[in-house]
Symmetry: C2
Subunit: 326 residues, 2 copies
Amino acid sequence: MVTSRDVARVAGVSQATVSRVLSASALVTDETRLRVVAAMEKVGYTPNRSARAMRTGRTGTFGVVVSDLANPFYPQLLEALSRALDARDVRMTVWISDEGRNQAALDAIAERAIDGVIFTTVGEESTELRAAIERESPFVLVNRTLPMLSCDQVSSANDVGSAMATRHLLEQGCTRLAYLEGAASSTTATERLRGFQSALAEADLKPVSVTGGSYSYESGRERALELFNVENPPDGLVCGNDIVAFGALDAARERGLDVPRDVKVIGYDDVAMASWPAFSLSTIRQDADLLAGFAVDALMRRVATPHVAPHRTIVQPALVRRGSTS
Amino acid sequence: MVTSRDVARVAGVSQATVSRVLSASALVTDETRLRVVAAMEKVGYTPNRSARAMRTGRTGTFGVVVSDLANPFYPQLLEALSRALDARDVRMTVWISDEGRNQAALDAIAERAIDGVIFTTVGEESTELRAAIERESPFVLVNRTLPMLSCDQVSSANDVGSAMATRHLLEQGCTRLAYLEGAASSTTATERLRGFQSALAEADLKPVSVTGGSYSYESGRERALELFNVENPPDGLVCGNDIVAFGALDAARERGLDVPRDVKVIGYDDVAMASWPAFSLSTIRQDADLLAGFAVDALMRRVATPHVAPHRTIVQPALVRRGSTS
DNA sequence: CTGAAAGCGCTTACAG
DNA sequence: CTGAAAGCGCTTACAG
């Protein structure tokens, strides 16, 4: 193991000076700096992160809590976060937390093994969130938020997006709209539902049906199958997300309904699969890179200055028209 | 910050004894241990990971290199790895490495910020792999392997699986088989191609076509569209993985071909979407939990005993029959 | 079985 | 601008 002491010996300076070069301190002449840098290269030196972390109390690592990687939106968001963190020279520890309880995450927060936590999904009852609050670990919520909690939050304007989706179906001639909500416990689901309802109210219409379920293919498929069973089935389905919409499309296919002639379907997220001909799903695009960038910036700011007022960032979504609605 | 010194004061023992309790040393009487544990609870103590890491040279963290989260098999494998690592109380740092160059990964390996690296995908030219070898960081290859490299490797029996898939199509009456290979640079692709060829040779048949491309939906779709353009199109497509097969299925649909009547299609991986009615894709199942468990065990063994001979583990795949072949 | 002490590899006041 | 020194919070020989 090559240490800063070895570098110091080779460069003919003190270990403290090597350390100053490392931290880009202004207290070093260019000439010394050059000598030290040359010595570093010569001996193949790399600073030891653990030692630095112990001294500074900063690990240079953020934790990212995700769940439900089966929904392709999350891998997409994870990739975006990875890029954003890389660009800022921060490491990423990932915790996949089903049901909001991941022991590794709780330990890491308690042991201060991370400088901050990015939650891509939370419920009020998330144990990781409680741990972060209790241990006073900086954190930020991205994608799913908690309106009642005073903390940094970054999200898409879910109500606006969902209203856009709803108006689009109305413009395409739908009159009997049903809403297939996602996981009722998430803010994304309630906000999107609200957008649907307000757009419908604007048009002086009432929903044919609003059902709760989960953000899954099976949930979308089963609910759509039931909807198609009634006397006067809906002619437009607004779905909580793309995965639910894929289930609804398959349900329509199973019932022999033509999409978009008999029934129009729209999703939310614009995952890669939405553009596949098998689905050709109209949807609302969320910009994962934008969400990720804002989230990382917010958390870095919070780590640097813990006591500034919490900040909310809202990203505007966009309508993507495809074959499932026209 | 509560330290082991605080615990020692409260428990009326030395700091060394607290440390011994932490590391579950046998050199402590039960009575002392109880007093110390009580003191820990009382003062709300959690050991500092960075300090321990500096002292022991172990960080308790493995790095995981993934790429292409757009292929749902990788999120699935990542979840399995997360579970396996959690169960063994090891943290997971994830690097998403397109084109095999991720600066954060290179830094972490050089700085010994991780105890070992799990590669879920590699090429010979992977810079992360080179860094791990050069820095003598323990590592293991899972899923994709490098036959010529002497190191721990865990993979599915890709040739066996692909031969199974091929024989299944032959049993279903196909006589004109085409192979849609994945990324030619990966061992999974070459092994699967070999399985296809040997199963075909067994039956004294020749392939109608073998094309290289990438492991993507678009690549599968485009190649299938071309195949369907020729005079005597194939009646069975063996695909490098499920994503390629989804593209092929959509191509068949676009050409107005009935699956499985006109053409049968089989994939590889058994990602969740394969069972959706939209695809109902026959495929070869890989057990991600098994692969992940073996990989983590192999790496832990390697970390504990660096100089034992490298070990290869091969997991047997299984045929999953669905609508796309019968 | 327990304690006093050294030391892991850094950063950062404190002198000069 | 540079160096000597203290110390971050642990682990682990070394005595006893």
